[in-house]
Structures are given as C-alpha cells and as structure tokens.
C-alpha cells in the first residue's frame, strides 16, 4: 500500500479545527481574568463544537481513508460525529449556570470537554487499533479530570478516582486484546484485518483477543458485567458532567464498537454474536431491575442508560448475523436511530435535573420532584414526556426507537432477545412512570428556584419538540441513518 508523502489532511478537518480551537481557547483563557475567561471559553466552546459539526456536515460523505489507512471518513463517521458534537455542545451550553453556582466555573471545563470530544470524534474515524487507542485515551483522560472537577467535594473526587482506576483497567484489557490480535494477525489496520478474516476462520488467539476487546469496549458503553462504575460515577460527578457521560462518550463508544465489530471482525460474527447477546440481555435486565429501588435521580439515570445500551446492543447482535445483508444493515441502522433518539431524551432529562434546585442547593432525590405539575406545569410536562418516551410508550420518540430495534431482532429471528427485551422494558416502565407519579400524583412540595436559565429552557424545548413530534416526521433521521449504514457496510 503506497503511503502518500503528504496525507490528505482535509478528511481530518473537523478534528484539526476542534484541536486548534481548543488550544486557542486555552491560550485565551490563560491570559484573561478568571471570571470573564470562563464565559468566553464556554460560549467559544459551544460555538467551536457546533462549527465542527457544521464542517462535518459540509464534507463529502464518500468513504475515504488517509494517514496510511489509519483514519477513515465516511457517512457513518459523519453521522456519529454530528451526534457527539451536538450533544457535547448542548452539555457545555447547559453546564455554565451549574458551574457558576457551585463556584467551579473555571475556564478549563469547556476546553476539557472539547478535548474529550476530540478524542471521541477521532475514535469513530479510527481505522486502525493504534488510532483507536489514541482517540479513546484522549477522551478518557479528559473525562477522568472533569469527573472530579468539583475537586473539593469528596463525592466528585471519588467519582473521578473510581472512573480512572476502572477505566484504566478497561483500557488495559483493550490493549491486551489488541496485542493478541496483532500477535496472531500481524497487523493492526482494520482493512488488512478484514481481508484476513474474510473467509470466516480465525486463530484462537484472535478470538481471545476479540473477547478482551469487547470487554474493554463494553466498559466504555457501561454494559453489564462491566457497568459497576456507572451508578457511582453518575452520582458523584457534577451533574453537567453526568449529562455528558450519559450521551457523548456512549455514542462514541457505540460507534467504535460498531466500527470494530462489523469492520475487521465482521466475518467472524458467529464467534462474537453470543457475547453481544449475553451483555445485551444482562444490561437490559439489570438496567430494569436495579433501578427500581433508586431514590437518587442521577443513579436512576445511570441504570436507565445501562438498560438503554442493552437495547442498542440488540442492533449489534443482529448485525453479527451475516446471513442476510439487508437485515444486517437494518440492525446497524436501527441502532443508530435508537441512539439518536436516546441522545435527545437524555439531554432533555438532564436539562430538567439541572434545574432541580431549592434554596440554591441541588436536589437529587426523586421525591424532590413532588408536585412539580403544580409548581411548574411546563417542566413537569416535559419530564413526563421524556419519561413516557424512555418507557417506550407511543406516540413519543422512544417508542419508535424501540420499535426499530425490536424489528431488527424479530427479523433476525433473535426471539429470546426480543422477548426478554420487551419484558425488561415493562419492568423499566415502572420506575419511569414512578417519576410521573411523583410529579403528578403527590402533594406539592416547595417550588424549585426560579427563574430557570435560558440555556436549560432552550435545550428543554428543543428536546421536547423532538421527542413529541418525531413520530410525525421520522423520515429525515431514518434516511440519515440509512445513508450512514450504507457507507459503513458498502465502503
């Protein structure tokens, strides 16, 4: 394979722009006084993330590689990148008010989020294990820091430490798996690997390597049995950071998982399908059952995201079934649709959680929402809609997400997976509608602090509109996901 003297930098334009913007904001922040620096980097960060998303959208989506085939840009990468960038921008946008109130509005926060995001968008474009690992670690290191951003609080410090230790362990497993694959296959590039395994056979060492890689990536998407960090980190981290954890890194890790599993190991589907089915079932059940007794809404959202990742993994299990290429493609596509809907529901829910303040203190107890329908009917309506949507009740977006995922499972004949999935969703519905119950049926508690920041309001309204009216206009998202899938599988 000829390596060009000057690689095609244009394909990495979003990454390059985001890296430059992050560095520029860092320098700017360092030279300004502390108060105004925080504001500048916050707005600058949102703007940079959105501009990066714009760059991604404006690029030609044809599948092309650069940097000696270690970096790929295609429709799939573009789809994932836009989701990651937009959700990260939304989180930075919402975070400002919280950070100011907790006196942790340092200018580094948006920059760290930008760097983490940079790692994420590199991950989904990785076409080589080394590139993958670089992106993953850039993301993880930045996330470890912001998890303990409230460094005076023990909970936040604990969250950061826990995340770091367990994250490092997962990275170790991933590296070990990658080295096994390299040892047996002699290459780390996805393209040569895919060629090697094109006929379905692989040495045992590679299979063991795949298991370790899957374990490492399962940690990143917080799938059972590698989920243990999730509730503690969600609860301990500052709420905007939790919001970020719930969306952007999950999307990135899912993107990575799809890329790795259907790329180099796509023809070994029979070997790893059982693993994905197992972690999917385990995540759905644990996400549903363990959340029932949670009193803290952030912990609840942690279990909810574990469960939702289980649903998303159904799509991957379907994609492993190589029998019919159409069904396989549908599996990936439906997974992307599910993830996009998941992002909107989560961002909206966290916007509500970020406004749960009484007397300047954050409320994290679910019972703190009591009587919200009287004290703030619009917010109660929004959260109610998000909860019904997450429970998969039509006509909200979450229903269509689940519909698509289960459609894939049924088409691929994975009935046990589908049946366990729907039954788990009934169990999960219990705790989602319990939140509705607290808001609507219980006697009113004191009202939350007002006014609500403009940031939260706008995010809340956008998510609400999406979740409510998606059912009327599902076509653009579906078409986008279809194109992304086609470019992943066809390229």
């Amino acid at each position: 394979m000829p390596i060009a003297v000057v690689p095609n930098f244009a394909l990495a334009a979003p990454e390059i722009f985001l890296a430059l913007a992050a560095m520029a904001l860092l320098v700017t922040g360092a030279f300004m006084n502390e108060r105004s620096a925080a504001r500048v980097t916050s707005y600058g960060g949102v703007l940079a993330l959105l501009v990066t998303a714009g760059i991604v959208l404006s690029m030609n989506k044809a599948s092309r590689m650069t940097f000696g085939e270690t970096f790929i840009f295609d429709g799939f990468a573009a789809f994932m990148k836009v989701m990651i960038l937009v959700s990260a921008a939304a989180v930075v946008f919402m975070a400002k008010e919280y950070l100011i109130r907790h006196e942790i509005d340092r200018f580094e926060f948006p920059i760290l989020v930008m760097l983490a995001t940079l790692g994420m968008i590199m991950m989904v474009s990785a076409n080589d294990f080394i590139a993958l690992y670089l992106g993953l670690e850039l993301q993880s290191l930045a996330l470890y820091v912001i998890a303990s951003f409230q460094r005076d609080g023990t909970r936040s410090a604990e969250a950061g430490l826990k995340y770091f230790v367990l994250g490092a362990l997962a990275s170790g497993m991933l590296l070990y798996g990658m080295s096994l694959v390299y040892g047996f296959a002699g290459t780390t590039g996805f393209v040569p690997l895919a060629d090697l395994f094109a006929h379905g056979g692989a040495p045992t060492g590679v299979i063991v390597g795949i298991v370790f890689i899957l374990a490492g990536l399962a940690f990143k998407v917080s799938a059972v049995p590698f989920h243990m960090w999730t509730p503690d980190v969600y609860e301990g981290a500052p709420t905007p950071v939790t919001a970020l954890f719930a969306v952007a890194p999950k999307i990135a890790a899912m993107g990575l998982l799809i890329r790795v599993m259907v790329g180099p190991f796509g023809d070994l589907g029979g070997q790893w399908q059982q693993i994905v089915i197992f972690i999917s079932i385990a995540s759905m059940i644990l996400g549903a059952v363990a959340a029932i007794n949670q009193r803290n809404i952030k912990r609840l959202m942690a279990y909810s995201s574990i469960g939702n990742m289980g649903y998303a993994l159904i799509g991957l299990a379907v994609a492993a079934e190589a029998a019919d290429p159409v069904i396989r493609a549908d599996g990936i596509r439906n997974m992307l649709i599910f993830l996009a809907i998941y992002v909107f529901m989560n961002v909206g829910t966290f916007a509500v959680i970020l406004t749960m303040r009484r007397g300047g203190r954050m409320i994290e107890d679910i019972d703190g929402l009591a009587g919200l329908s009287k004290t703030n009917p619009l917010m109660a309506l929004c959260l109610g809609v998000f909860m019904f949507s997450m429970a998969g009740i039509p006509p909200f977006a979450g229903f269509l997400g689940k519909l698509y995922i289960f459609q894939s499972a049924v088409q691929a004949g994975l009935f046990p997976l589908a049946i366990i999935g729907v039954l788990a969703s009934v169990v999960a519905a219990f705790y989602y509608i319990r939140i509705v119950k607290v808001m609507y049926f219980d006697a009113a508690d004191e009202a939350f602090d007002s006014p609500i920041g403009m940031e939260m309001k706008s995010i809340l309204v956008i998510s609400f509109i999406f979740v409510t009216f998606f059912i009327l206009f599902p076509v653009p998202l579906i078409a986008g996901a279809t194109r992304a899938t086609a470019s992943l599988l066809g390229g």
Binding site: P394, V410, V426, Y440
Partner: protein, 506 residues
Amino acid sequence: MTDFPWLSVVTFLPLVGALFILFFSRGTAEQVARDARAVALWVSSITFLVSLGLWVNFDVRTSDFQFVEKFVWVPGLDLAYHVGIDGISLFFVLLSTLLTVLCILASWESIQERVKEYMVAFLILETLMVGMFAALDIVLFYVFFEAVLIPMYLIIGIWGGPRRNYAAFKFFLYTLAGSVLMLLAILAMMYQSGTSDMTRLLTFDFAPSLQTWLWLAFFASFAVKVPMWPVHTWLPDAHVEAPTAGSVILAGVLLKFGGYGFLRFSMPMFPLASLEFTPLMFTLSIIAVIYTSLVALAQEDMKKLIAYSSVAHMAFVTLGAFAANTQAVEGAIAHMLSHGFVSAALFLVVGVVYDRMHSREIATYGGLVHRMPKYALIFMIFMMASVGLPGTSGFVGEVLVLIGLFKANSWVGAFAATGLILGACYMLYLYRRVIFGQLTKDNLKSIGDLNMREIAVFAPLLLLVFWMGIYPETFLSAMHVSVENLLERYHSAIAAHGAATAIAAR
C-alpha cells in the same frame, strides 16, 4: 359517500380542542376551569355530531372499509396513516364519542381540582380511542392502543381515590406487559407478510405454527384488556379508585379494545390458531362468568361489584366471538355495545350518590327510594338492562350469544346461561340493599334527587338501552355484512387448511 375526511375529523377534533384549552385558557383558576369545561363539552358534542355523520353516510351493503384515508407515513417501513371503518368498528367509534360527552357532563361538578388538565386528558383520550378503532395500519393501531395508557394512567392517578397510586400502576403495568408481546407479534407479522396494511393482513395466510405464537402474543394483550380471568385483577382496583368518568370510559370503551381486538385481529388473521385455542377461550370465559359473578355477590363496594360484573359480561363477549357463528358474533358485538351503555350508566349511577355522600360502601345506603324516586327508577332500568331483561339492550346481546353458543357447543351454552341467573342475583341484591328498606340513616335524610344535568346525562343512555332492546335491527343491520365477511374468511381458511392437510396425509 363524499371526500370529506370524516374519520380524521372525528379523530383529531378532540385533540384540537385539547390544544385549544391548553394554550388559550387564561385568567383566574375559576375562569380557566369554567372555560375548560365549556370548551370540552362543545368540542366533544360537535365531535359526536360529526361522528353521527359516519353512521348516516355508512353503506350497510358492503363489508369493505369505508371512509378510508391513506397517507404515507414512514416510506421505508411501508407504514401509513391509514384509517377506515366497517360494520364492526362503526359503533365503537360512536360509543367512544358519545361516552366522552357524557363523561364531561358527569364530571361537571365532581371535578374541582385541575379541571383544565382533566378536560385535556379526556379529549386526548377520545382522540386515541377513536383512532384505535379506526386504524387500518397495524403499527398505527398499536400507537393508539398503547398511547391510551398515558391519559388513563393520569386520570386514575391524579383524580382517583385513596389507593390511586396502586391502582394506576397496576393498570399501567398489566396492560403494558400484555401489549409489548403483541408488539413483537406485530413486528413478526410485518416481517412475514411485508406489509403493515391491515386490509392486506386480513387475508394473509400465516404459517400454522407461526399463527399459534402470534395468536398467543395477541391473546396476552387482549386478555388483559378484556379482561379475562385470571388477569382481570387490575380492573376492580382501577374501577374503584378511578373518578366516576374514568370508570365510565374504562368500562364503556377501554374494555371493548380487547373484544374488538379478538374480532379484528385474532380471528381473521390467525383462524387456525383461533380454532385451536377455542377450548381455552371457552374454559377461561366460563370460569370468569361463574367465578366473578360469585365474587360480585360478596362485594361491599358498589363500584367493585359493577367491576366484577363487567368481567362476567365481557366473558360473554369472548364466548360469543369464539363460538364463530353469525348469531354469536353479532351477539358479542351487540353485547359489547350494550355493556358500553349499561355499565357506563351504572358507574354514573354510583357516581350520583358518591357525589352526595362520598362513599361507595353499600352499607352506607339503604332506603334511597324514599328520598330519590327518580334515581331509583333510573337505577332500576339500568339494573334490569344489566341483568338482561327483554326489551332492554342487555337482552339482545345475551340471547344472541346464547343461541350461537348452543349451536356451537351446548355444554358451554349451558354453563354460560348460569351467568344470567347469577347476574340477576347480584344485581337485585345490590338494588335491594341500596334502594329499598327503611331510610334509617340520618345523613341520608336530606339527600337530594337527580338534578337536570344528571338527568341529561342519563337520558341518551336510557334512550339507547330501550332502542337497542326493542328494535336491535337498527344496530345489527349495519354489522351483518361485515360479520358475514369475517366468518366467511374464518371458516374458509380453516377449511382450506383442512383440505391441504388431508391431501398431505394421503
């Protein structure tokens, strides 16, 4: 027939009304409540009048779907906004629109808390109910079917009685658990047949082994909705805790989802499995008829008693549907309609005294005839209709179902007939304890009789109970052709399969 989109107007007019209330009611709490009531009453009345237009323009000579509207919704999946009605669904649409008006009237004074939200919930519920009966796309059907849970959950939970949390959760989770399995079956059907269009699914022959599973999945959903023994336990709780109007809608319309589902989906789409499971349906229904009637006899709470009687009555519907002959199926539909009028009326009857005394305990009352003669009369008529007195609507359904049952299986018919006797026992016993006897309790001595609003609520139901009882042909004539078509499809599919297996065996 015109191009006017009758069905969509009937479906979405209440939603428009709900949005109107939501966005345009301003002023003090009192003004908002008054406006919300007025708008809700107007909108639901207009909707009802428009829905009468469906009946007027309905062509009784064809079994095709009428007032069909179809727009592409999700092109890739072949999903469509596709609605239309036939002789089976026509009256359920009318029942939904009528009962909503009555519900809003009945809640005029009893609901004083969060009136705006209450009216919005009822109007949205009306949209979903009508949409459910009119849907001709199976995913669209599911969307409406399942979305009904949201307003009903809120109605029970916000305006319900002391144990409303428990009842609301139980209602929601029971129904959801049944429905999600149906969702999987729907997806499997779409995959097998390549379409979500119900008009095509109605004539699609699924493989016999697959039919069994699909039938069971749909059964899980409809059996909970009907509700059949042993998954009926959510119903008494939900009825007892729901506000009066909530119980009316629940008994009047929501329970019909199950019976309608069996007739619309299970029988024509999975005829072989339906035949295979007929003994199961008969057994469960017979148990329900006898067991829940006996349970009703022992109740101390009026609403609970009527709730158990609903289970027994709905068991007649499932018996009739699966007896699979013309009389029985028409009887099942007629019985659903009659039960829609009568049980709705009985819950309203309970609501009248509940509004006055805030108690549903039978022991609280006694001798009401001395203070409330009009009430006693109306109660008696509906009680008799529930028992199945000739000349009332209850008689028509029951007798048709029994004729059909004796044709299909005389043992089942004989057991089902005991339900009539037991029904008379518990209803008459209830009536005696509430209405007759000496008026000894002090707090009852000043109780007032029905006022004009309450009479206005009962009047249309009275009219319908007698109309259907005396001249049922008005209703039956519209469903003849559709029912014949359904049974034709059912029996020909079974015969074709029988012939095919005979050839294979040879």
